[in-house]
């Protein structure tokens, strides 16, 4: 039993006694702990002085010696420390931002022709554009821009739905695109669907089809019964203004013909697209990205391969 009067043991107690003889030890804290504690108190006081801290009426203490200056519309604004002002200053004058802006200013002042011809500027486009592309475009078009057959177009080949010039690419990025082909499920009966698919496959020179069927399909394709020529052109080479693909090459964006092994499987893939139609959307990024970011991204996509 630790009695407060038990001096022999040399144990300090708090002096409180409960239930006649219940006491508690009073062991002093280690010195290092105590000084660390005092240190945090001192830190807090310093912090209250330097940073916005205590509410006072309908305002608060703003902090001393800690003003932040940034520029808005050419005018300098000085304000008490706060994260938004700090962000403004960071965007305007942090070393990284300043160095990056040097490059971006050059890009902004260069037209596409010079940009794509200049190896140094193109190197910047590749490294800076990679980040923007990764964030905004890669979700659909994939990291390398190769897309997913059946869903999202490949940007790294020289086949373009909406045109591959810088003006076309920029327009696509700024305003987005709505790719639409009507479903023909109510227009074509089974026989018509079959022969049109035969014709479409014959356009890209795929062997194994029935020439007579393809010929009947051609009549529908080029006539008012199908009206396919309105968008894909009478020669099947597609109209970029409609986002209609060239059907005469061996690039497939929706029907996964290359993956199908037999001719019948290829035909089923094409029939599926004609039957169900196509509805695809590319979002518009004109308001999300700054003009110079759009420019970098346009040049980046153009140089991925096959820019026109």
């Amino acid at each position: 039993m630790n009695n407060p009067s038990d001096k022999k043991q040399g144990v300090q107690t708090t002096g409180h006694v409960w239930d006649d003889d219940l006491c508690e030890y009073n062991n002093p804290l280690p010195r290092w702990w105590l000084w660390t504690f005092y240190g945090t108190v001192f830190f807090a006081i310093l912090y209250w002085l330097l940073y916005p801290a205590w509410p006072v009426g309908s305002s608060y203490t703003k902090g001393l010696f800690n003003d932040i200056t940034y520029t808005v519309n050419g005018e300098e604004v000085t304000t008490h420390w706060n994260t938004r002002a700090l962000f403004m200053r960071d965007m305007q004058s942090s070393p990284a931002a300043v160095r990056q802006r040097e490059f971006l200013d050059v890009i902004a002042a260069t037209d596409y022709e010079d940009l794509l011809a200049d190896a140094d500027k193109l190197a910047f486009v590749r490294s800076y554009g990679r980040g923007i592309f990764g964030d905004y475009c890669a979700a659909c078009h994939q990291t390398g821009g190769t897309g997913i057959v059946g869903r999202y177009p490949n940007l790294s080949d020289d086949d373009w739905l909406w045109g591959g010039s810088v003006a076309d690419i920029e327009r696509t990025i700024m305003h987005g695109r709505l790719g639409y082909m009507p479903p023909f499920r109510e227009t074509f009966d089974a026989e018509q669907l079959d022969v049109v698919a035969e014709y479409v496959l014959s356009l890209s020179g795929i062997d194994g089809g029935d020439a007579a069927k393809a010929q009947r399909g051609e009549v529908i394709f080029k006539g008012m019964a199908g009206g396919c020529f309105h968008c894909h052109g009478a020669d099947g080479k597609g109209l970029p203004s409609q986002g209609a693909p060239n059907l005469t090459d061996s690039v497939w964006t929706i029907a996964n013909v290359p993956a199908a092994e037999t001719f019948d499987a290829k035909k089923e893939a094409v029939k599926g697209v004609i039957h169900n139609g196509v509805q695809r959307q590319m979002p518009a990024f004109g308001e999300r990205l700054s003009p110079v970011e759009v420019k970098v991204l346009t040049a980046y996509v153009h140089q991925l391969g096959g820019g026109q």
């Binding site: 002096g15 409180h16 409960w18 205590w54 509410p55 309908s58 305002s59 608060y60 940034y70 808005v72 519309n73 604004v77 304000t79 706060n82 994260t83 938004r84 002002a85 700090l86 962000f87 403004m88 960071d90 965007m91 942090s94 990284a96 931002a97 980040g131 964030d135 905004y136 979700a139 659909c140 994939q142 997913i148 869903r151 509805q279 695809r280 959307q281 590319m282 979002p283 518009a284 308001e287 999300r288």
Partner: protein, 245 residues
């Protein structure tokens, strides 16, 4: 002077004094936010969620999306470059509960609206790795299978109304909303028309790519597509929002 012993031996007093001490932190940090000007910025365009978006948000919470995704872009240069303008307090003024945080297991979703197509969201929610090979997000295929339950959407709106979201029940409240948000938005906030508004928005938007039925996917995608899109930052000066701090 009160003796330490007096406090220690009197549990009622100890409780009261303990509460008094620990409430200082709360009083200093929380209470001023209620009356310091500019805690919630004055900004145009922020409105409560439409019934369909609200159901989408409830499903978002139900599925625990918040355990990996937060919705708060902090005012740092790196976050700005990746996610866009930093989030404003005003933008989540109708969120109960808000989705703030700095959880970045998945990317921040505060400005995901309009960034990807509806079709992409559907594909991505059903099978994330089919579009983002390195993704660690789970599949949510049932969102497409489950029919959207919305019979209780009025009750959900009324509950939010009790905590201050201006959904309207009476003609006066509706008129106040017309004044504040314009007629088109005010109509979507009317509890009496909640179900028809929900169906109409889902049919017009066709968010899940299947116009024939109303799935949970419709609601979730409608919600995701509105995130962070309400404020038009183009109309404000670069430094406008810094003055509220």
């Amino acid at each position: 002077m009160m003796k330490h012993e007096t406090i220690e031996t009197n549990s009622g007093l100890l409780i009261i004094l303990t509460l008094a001490v620990i409430s200082i932190g709360g009083l200093v940090e929380i209470v001023p936010l209620f009356y310091i000007d500019g805690t919630v910025e004055e900004v145009e365009g922020v409105r409560p969620y439409s019934p369909l978006e609200l159901r989408g948000r409830d499903i978002y919470v139900r599925e625990g999306c918040y355990t990996c995704h937060s919705q708060m872009i902090r005012p740092f240069r790196d976050e700005y470059l990746r996610y866009g303008h930093y989030s404003l307090a005003a933008e989540s003024q109708y969120d109960h509960p808000f989705q703030w945080g700095s959880k970045r297991t998945g990317p921040d979703l505060a400005r995901v609206g309009g960034k990807y197509s509806n079709d992409w969201h559907v594909q991505h929610l059903v099978a994330p790795r089919s579009v983002v090979p390195e993704s660690i997000m789970p599949n949510y295929p049932w969102l497409l299978d489950n029919e959207l339950q919305y019979a209780d959407v009025e009750a959900r709106m009324k509950a939010l109304k009790r905590v201050g979201v201006p959904y309207s029940e009476t003609v006066e409240e509706y008129r106040a909303n017309v004044e504040k948000f314009g007629e088109d938005v005010a109509r979507t906030l009317d509890i009496g028309r909640a179900r028809e508004n929900l169906v109409a928005q889902a049919q017009a938007g066709n968010f899940d790519g299947n116009g024939a039925r109303l799935s949970e996917m419709d609601a979730v995608v409608a919600y995701l597509q509105v995130l962070g899109t309400m404020v038009d930052f183009g109309q404000y000066d670069e430094g406008h929002f810094a003055q509220f701090r």
